[in-house]
């Protein structure tokens, strides 16, 4: 499999000056390796035997809690400082313990904001190389080369905060490349990105691997993103005490997927060609559109900046008309920075509009006034629910049960409904756990449940499917089709076209902002004329899409590389 023949003794001093752009790819070997985090009753990973040859490209799969991230962190050498943790067996890079292999591996994490260290992109790329004591002249040779490799054609003093999520991930990759690592470790690198960002990161990784020949280990729920890059899939077994751990399946991608597609899908992996089964919509409210109008907006201008009389806020988006009716779905889509979330926040009464008109109908207001922004918190939650992109932002208590009971208590309702929701969303066994300790999928389910516990007539969700495995995705989609059929209006800000199709309803496509970071010479710049801001009349063009739920849904993630 190895694309590069092993080069014997590893070149562990990082600067491999002889071959510009590359150092020897790394070999990874785990023998009976395991790790137990401090204070945890069970090991995160145990009995792992795994050999990865230099230059191999491995996709690491496994159910949630199989220790995939732990393995990546260990290989990156960032687990060593943990006090009270226990390590078992050996984990070697090029035959040396990871602690002695500083600079041989580069790690990319899920959160793009945690990827950037310094405020100018040139300095940020140089940071890793500086830490490896690379001479100054050599650093400044490597920095533009690395930025070029990841396709980030921006001036070196460009602000790193002004980048989009996908650009930040590529900046992080450039920083790694400047360290000339033999091993790239990617921990769900595209989970928080929009489709264009996913393609950019995929292409950058692929180009870098082709140029450097480095070994790759990538963890990702969505197999299709990396299928054309990897040459091997390794499936880890869940690390349960008393059961054998280690590797469950190992082989060429086609083989592993043919053998175990069902098992992987059951574990929540997004297997190419498989779409999780979702409860279809049984009842479409589009026939009597307008009869139960809940929210009505016209010429709505939205912005996060408040603006003053002398300096009015520049709207992030201006939407000609939005009508939200009971039992109807509305999907807000568009590129990053088009003002989708800002619009959703404004519709939900959380952000003041900077222009236009937003009115709650009497059916929704129920005597509380027609401006959602003026409603008290208690009035708001029983009318409009908002699920934020980051579940942690909305946790306000110490246990899962209290979290669910928070809204019913505030509204003076009974506490019986909470147990039903707990069981419905498979959170019953976690009732006494702290919300912050849950897994990503559990947090998402809890954050939706807490908002639903107040029984809102309009439910607004911001990127609810970002980073979710196939199981949580299907549960969420099923729950929403059920709510829609029961008469709740659902507004979702999403890039996920499969999700949009399952929910049906209308689409509102926002245009690109004019001040988006534009990359010089980039051939797929996300600039569409901002003059074309098509408004969507809810229900007007929804006929074609509302029936889509029962039809086979296409592959959720567009095949990478297709756009080029």
């Amino acid at each position: 499999m190895a694309r590069q023949p092993g080069r014997g003794a590893p070149a562990r001093s990082a600067p491999a000056l002889s071959a510009p752009g590359r150092s020897a790819p790394a070999r990874v070997s785990a023998r009976g390796w395991g790790w137990q985090h401090a204070g945890r009753p069970a090991k995160a990973i145990h009995d792992l035997d795994l050999e990865i040859a230099p230059g191999e490209r491995v996709l690491l799969l496994g159910p949630s809690g199989a220790g995939k991230s732990t393995l990546l962190h260990a290989l990156a050498g960032v687990l060593g400082g943990e006090e009270g943790a226990d390590e078992f067996g050996t984990l070697l890079i090029d035959g040396a313990p990871v602690a002695e292999s500083r600079g041989r591996a580069g790690l990319m994490q899920q959160d793009p904001d945690a990827q950037v260290v310094l405020s100018r992109i040139g300095d940020d790329v140089a940071f890793g190389a500086e830490n490896l004591s690379v001479p100054r002249e050599e650093i400044w040779r490597r920095v533009p080369e690395a930025l070029e490799q990841v396709g980030l054609k921006l001036p070196l003093d460009h602000s790193s905060s002004a980048l989009s999520g996908g650009q930040k991930q590529r900046l992080g990759l450039a920083g790694m490349l400047a360290m000339r690592p033999g091993l790239l470790l990617l921990d769900e690198p595209t989970a928080n990105l929009d489709p264009a960002g996913v393609v950019d990161v995929h292409d950058a990784v692929r180009r870098s691997l082709d140029a450097t020949g480095a070994t790759l280990v990538v963890v990702e729920h969505r197999v299709s993103v990396w299928l054309d890059v990897v040459d091997r899939i390794v499936v880890l077994a869940p690390a349960r005490a008393g059961e054998p751990g280690g590797v469950l399946l190992d082989g060429a991608p086609a083989e592993v997927l043919a053998q175990a597609a069902g098992m992987l899908a059951a574990a929540g992996v997004w297997v190419p060609g498989r779409v999780p089964a979702v409860r279809p919509r049984t009842f479409s409210a589009t026939d009597d559109a307008g009869s139960h109008l809940l929210l009505d907006a016209e010429a709505l201008a939205v912005s996060r900046q408040a603006g003053t009389r002398r300096h009015p806020a520049v709207p992030a988006a201006v939407v000609p008309s939005v009508r939200i009716s009971a039992g109807q779905a509305l999907s807000v889509t568009g590129p990053n920075g088009a003002g989708k979330s800002t619009l959703a926040l404004t519709l939900a009464g959380l952000l003041p509009a900077v222009g236009g008109r937003l009115e709650a109908s009497p059916a929704l207001a129920r005597g509380a006034g027609s401006a959602p922004l003026k409603w008290r918190g208690r009035e708001l939650i029983s009318r409009i629910g908002y699920v934020f992109q980051e579940p942690e932002h909305q946790f306000v208590t110490g246990t899962v049960r209290d979290e669910l009971l928070f809204a019913p208590r505030l509204l003076g309702r009974g506490e019986a409904s909470a147990d039903g929701l707990l069981e419905r969303l498979r959170l019953g066994h976690l009732a006494d756990a702290n919300p912050f300790t849950l897994s990503g999928g559990e947090k998402r389910r809890l954050s939706v449940a807490t908002v639903l516990a107040a029984g809102p007539q309009v439910l607004v969700l911001d990127e609810p499917t970002f980073g979710q495995d196939a199981n949580t995705w299907a549960e969420l989609a099923s729950l929403l089709t059920e709510l829609l059929d029961a008469g709740t209006a659902v507004v979702s800000v999403t890039h996920d076209s499969a999700f949009t199709q399952v929910l049906g309803g209308a689409r509102l496509v926002l245009g690109a902002p004019t001040d988006a970071p534009v990359e010089v010479g980039d051939n797929h710049v996300r600039m569409t004329p901002s003059a074309s801001l098509p408004g969507a009349e809810s229900g007007a063009q929804s006929g074609a899409e509302s029936g889509a739920a029962s039809e086979p849904v296409p592959e959720p993630v567009s095949e990478p590389g297709v756009r080029r």
Binding site: S119, D123, F127, A129, E130, M179, L350, Y386, E392, L410
Partner: protein, 265 residues
């Protein structure tokens, strides 16, 4: 979406090209000199000279007012308080019930207000013309402060900008849960405290992820090189000399005019 408080684009002003340590040294010399005496001549002289320097720092009058109004306010309040409480010598200017101002007390008040401004302005000039990254480079390379500490602080400062955006988001996220819907001061206070705690939790989680990124990039172990060399140039000599000239002029003027009034002795 992030509000970048501390990483404004690098200023093109003349002073921005000077080494931060030279600027800090000059500013400190002026501050110390002004602390030694309470008289209005030295303060006025220093203040006039500092105002002449503003264009070199790229600071216009309107920008200065927008950034420095709290300092101006503090100086005015301090001057007013001094005029109210200082020994009442000279002629009475205003007497209204408990309020009594004389020429002597007003003179003291003006001296204090001018002094406050003259001491604060060098700090504003240094802050406005200094890039945090340059400062960190200078502190670690020239002053030999531990680079772990300096670069850790620099990376943390970048996150402060993110916190501003995070605070707004948390406020909306918590309103969407119905938090803070009770009317009244104490429930409002409780809601704000809860939000501050949530912000702290988010800050710590993001910081620990950033720490993992830095560690994975080999930070903190062993010696390192510096991509940006912190150097002293002729411009820094000019900055230091300029600081000394300002000290000499303001102190000299006060001594010559006989207003020099040392605080000690």
């Amino acid at each position: 979406m992030s509000v970048d408080v501390l990483a404004a684009p690098r200023s093109k002003a003349w002073l921005a090209g000077a080494n931060p340590l030279a600027k800090l040294g000059a500013a400190m010399a002026i501050t110390v000199a002004l602390l030694l005496s309470v008289d209005w001549v030295s303060a006025t002289a220093a203040l006039v000279l500092e105002c002449l320097l503003l264009p070199l720092a790229g600071l216009g009058a309107s920008l200065l007012l927008r950034r420095g109004w709290p300092v101006l306010l503090a100086a005015v309040v301090g001057g007013y308080g001094t005029a109210l409480l200082a020994p009442k010598t000279g002629e009475v200017l205003l007497s209204a019930g408990p309020l009594l101002f004389t020429t002597g007390s007003v003179e003291s008040g003006v001296a204090i207000a001018l002094r406050g401004l003259a001491i604060a302005l060098p700090g504003i000039i240094v802050l406005a013309s200094t890039d945090p990254t340059d400062l960190a480079d200078a502190l670690a390379q020239k002053l030999r402060l531990p680079h772990r500490f300096v670069l850790g602080a620099l990376a943390a400062m970048r996150l402060v900008g993110l916190l501003v955006a995070e605070w707004q988001t948390l406020g909306m996220a918590r309103r969407a849960r119905g938090v803070g819907s009770e009317p009244g001061f104490f429930s409002g206070l409780r809601a704000s405290l809860g939000q501050a705690l949530a912000l702290l939790v988010q800050a710590i989680r993001r910081a620990s992820r950033l720490a993992v990124t830095m560690e994975a990039k080999g930070f903190g172990a062993g010696p390192r090189t510096w991509a940006r060399e912190s150097v002293f140039t002729r411009r820094d000599a000019a900055v230091a000399a300029g600081g000394l000239v300002m000290v000499a002029v303001s102190v000299g003027a006060a001594v010559v005019l006989g207003t020099w009034n040392p605080v000690f002795g």
